[in-house]
């Protein structure tokens, strides 16, 4: 079941994505952010928080004067380790002010040398998680894609754990713990297990560990590995990537532009943060899920289709630059077409199949209908069934199960079971439908796919010409306008000076070069 599409146009769209991302990459290379530095510190052992609840990583970065911060937090920490002769953890927990003055006289070589074993240890911990995942997935193989993905969102991690276990038993292969709606705007990662939040509960290292442990046990019992997902988005994107790597999350929601457009997070902050986050994800073997579905939920799905494809090209290019192989780039799309539109499902098939052909090795993430789900759960269940059919036909990889009570309440345990049953039924009964049929030459689906491709190409042409930041400023994505120096978190972006050092970035680039 293949669409005849203009492959020359696809190649040219990729060239335009490269041209779009080039200047942003140059910007990223010259800058860092407080959250990148905190992520580095966490990997160096500065997890946890003081008695006042302020995370050690935050406290350390805030203590740095701008001149030291511009050299990278690792430089300062290394100098302190060399100067004081104690490890990063002792320095973090120290009550007395840090002797930064004395530390600034330590040579770069001495600082880096002092930190080297801790850098090794950080990388070793990431690699150990990855190896453990590979071992478990060999022992407990997953069922074939589309991988059924469900969300748990009770707002209480202990209830979420019960829901996750029940969902896994009912057929879920991936469980995402929804975060509290405000977390993307917090400039620190909360600590400990949490039992509150709006629309979900907080992403914390303790919550990650609690869920991982529960899902490992259920994986063993069911004989298939159940994946865990959370969100590397918002102001703490790189830190979440670190915690996810350490606690063996398998996927992370991570988009190069989502925070800018839909959370009003500063674009410079987001671009710098997403890059380092993705480098960590690459090393940790974590599959990213990009957020193109958001273009469709906030505007008309038929009109926005080219923007989805254009964003997929841009996300792919950003991800590749961070060292993510295609198998870890879960590009997003959603089944959001108005149910009243005649042939709407044909349009959805066109878009999903187009993405499948253009990104053949990407584990595509397919999002369910939400915008047109009313309180009519019966109709909603039918719409979800057609979404499930579209997904299995077009060989999507990560399938977020639509829930009949979408828009009514965060899913009940029984709602989730019904959603999984719907998906298992449809995908079982139509498993090989896509292999058996062909698209009519020049028919509705093929014409639509080519229209979308041309539209995406035109948009990329314009964005490459104008520049990505200027295009966002002009409202070319999702009709949202954002200024380069506006939005949240801008004050946490800073220029690197010539002595800047990020030991993990250095190591990750080195391993990328070795691999290529």
């Amino acid at each position: 079941m293949n669409l005849r599409i203009d492959s020359g146009l696809v190649d040219d769209a990729r060239r335009l994505a490269v041209a779009t991302v080039d200047p942003v990459s140059a910007f990223i290379e010259r800058h860092s952010t407080v959250s990148v530095e905190r992520a580095v510190l966490r990997l160096l052992g500065l997890g946890g928080a003081g008695a006042d609840g302020v995370p050690y990583a935050n406290r350390f970065v805030e203590a740095l004067p701008p001149s030291l911060r511009a050299r990278g937090a690792a430089s300062a920490l290394g100098a302190l380790v060399a100067e004081l002769g104690v490890g990063p953890v002792e320095i973090a927990a120290r009550e007395a002010p840090l002797p930064l003055e004395a530390a600034s006289r330590v040579s770069d070589a001495a600082a880096r040398g002092a930190l080297a074993p801790h850098v090794e240890e950080g990388l070793r911990r990431i690699d150990a998680s990855r190896t453990e995942r590979e071992r478990l997935m060999m022992r407990f193989p997953q069922q074939p894609a589309p991988l059924l993905y469900v969300i748990v969102a009770s707002g209480n991690i202990f209830e979420d754990r019960s829901a996750a276990i029940a969902a896994a038993e009912a057929g879920a292969q991936i469980v995402a713990v929804i975060r509290s709606t405000g977390q993307s705007l917090l400039d620190f990662v909360p600590e400990g297990t949490t039992t509150e939040g709006f629309g979900g509960t907080y992403a914390t290292q303790a919550n990650f560990a609690l869920m991982r442990e529960a899902l490992d046990r259920v994986s063993e019992r069911l004989g298939r590995y159940v994946m865990l997902t959370n969100y590397a988005s918002g102001l703490c994107m790189p830190e979440i990537a670190v915690l996810a790597a350490l606690e063996r999350l398998d996927m992370l929601l991570n988009d190069s532009m989502y925070g800018i457009l839909f959370r009003d997070i500063n674009m410079q902050r987001t671009f710098v943060d997403q890059h380092f986050s993705r480098m960590l994800n690459a090393r940790a073997g974590i599959v990213i899920n990009t957020g193109e579905d958001n273009y469709l939920t906030t505007a008309d799905a038929v009109e926005q289709a080219p923007a989805v494809l254009a964003s997929q090209f841009i996300n792919e290019e950003f991800a590749r630059r961070a060292g993510l192989p295609d198998a870890q780039i879960g590009l997003g799309d959603a089944y959001e077409i108005d149910p009243n539109l005649e042939d709407g499902m044909l349009f959805a098939i066109a878009q999903a199949q187009l993405a499948r052909q253009i990104f053949p090795n990407a584990p595509l993430k397919y999002m369910p209908p939400t915008k047109h789900m009313s309180g009519d759960i019966f109709k909603g269940h039918v719409i979800d069934a057609l979404f499930n059919l579209t997904s299995v036909m077009t060989r999507q990889t990560i399938h977020l199960c639509g829930i009949l009570t979408e828009g009514v309440h965060t899913p009940f345990l029984g709602d989730r079971a019904l959603a999984l049953e719907n998906a298992r039924y449809v995908m079982g009964t139509a498993r090989h439908l896509g292999d058996e049929i062909e698209f009519k030459r020049g028919g509705i689906v093929e014409r639509r796919a080519n229209d979308v491709l041309r539209g995406a190409h035109a948009l990329l042409e314009e964005v490459a010409e104008r520049g990505l930041m200027a295009s966002i400023e002009a409202g070319r994505f999702a009709d949202v306008k954002r200024a380069p120096d506006g939005g949240r978190g801008f004050d946490g972006v800073f220029e690197r000076d010539e002595r800047y050092w990020n030991p993990f970035e250095e190591a990750l680039y080195a391993s990328l070069r070795a691999a290529s």
């Binding site: 029940a166 709006f198 629309g199 959370r263 939920t297 029984g414």
Partner: protein, 245 residues
């Protein structure tokens, strides 16, 4: 005049309802019986458990049909309709020009921690919803869309500083009553600032009704499926009335 009604299955007053629920027990035939007795305990008669099955270890799912003895007097329900006429964008602009005599300043925000701007964007953005233009497209509205996760304090300050006439407040997340608390807190703050009375306060969200909004002290509430022109007409009419007093 009273008019009592019951749910309708296939015969008037048979009282038939469908229920589905999950019980935190392993499924067995005894679990079906437990489900049946539960529905009886709810006050229903003629209870039939149409479906009972395990959905995971320790949880069972049931579908039940039953008859309710309860009836309700529909004549005693207060009207929830907002008295607004259907007006076109041009009519609304004309009405504001004639009766208000200046541009109407409208602010919209998703309050609290809510990040779901779909509803408020549909009403405010130029593009609108289902072919019905948003308020930004109207000549006589000056629109300020403050976006998502706006604190109540910031919204109240903005409303005061910018001499806003009408405020659209939206919140979707209904978990643990957070929406109601935030809606109420905003009113209290606006009252404390002494600006509540000169404002039109409008609440929105997928579960909002005009009745609930009025109970919360808002001038109107708009729920799922609302078109921008309905909100625009309400603002125009209400401000015209005030201007003519």
């Amino acid at each position: 005049m009273s008019r009592y009604v019951k749910p309708y299955g296939d015969t008037l007053d048979d009282g038939k309802v469908q229920l589905s629920f999950t019980l935190p027990i392993e499924w067995s035939e005894a679990a079906d019986e437990a489900a049946r007795r539960l529905v009886v305990a709810m006050g229903f008669g003629d209870v039939a458990i149409a479906e009972g099955r395990p959905i995971s270890s320790g949880f069972s799912f049931f579908v039940a049909y039953a008859s309710t003895p309860a009836a309700i007097d529909v004549a005693a329900i207060p009207s929830t309709a907002r008295a607004t006429n259907v007006l076109s964008m041009e009519d609304i602009d004309a009405r504001i020009r004639e009766r208000v005599g200046r541009k109407v300043r409208v602010a919209g925000a998703c309050i609290g921690s809510d990040a779901h701007t779909v509803g408020i964007d549909a009403i405010l953005n130029m593009k609108g919803y289902r072919g019905d233009y948003g308020l930004e497209r109207y000549k006589e509205f000056e629109v300020f869309n403050l976006g998502s996760q706006v604190s109540i304090g910031r919204l109240a300050r903005f409303v005061g500083d910018e001499a806003i006439d009408a405020v659209l407040v939206s919140q979707v997340v209904t978990q643990k009553g957070s929406d109601v608390r935030n809606f109420t807190a905003l009113i209290e703050l606006l009252e404390a600032e002494g600006i509540r009375d000169r404002l039109l306060l409008i609440a929105g969200g997928p579960r909002m009704t005009n009745l609930l909004a009025n109970e919360l002290g808002y001038d109107a509430g708009f729920g799922r499926g609302t078109l921008p022109s309905q909100v625009a007409a309400f603002i125009a009419e209400r401000l015209s009335e005030r201007a003519s007093v």
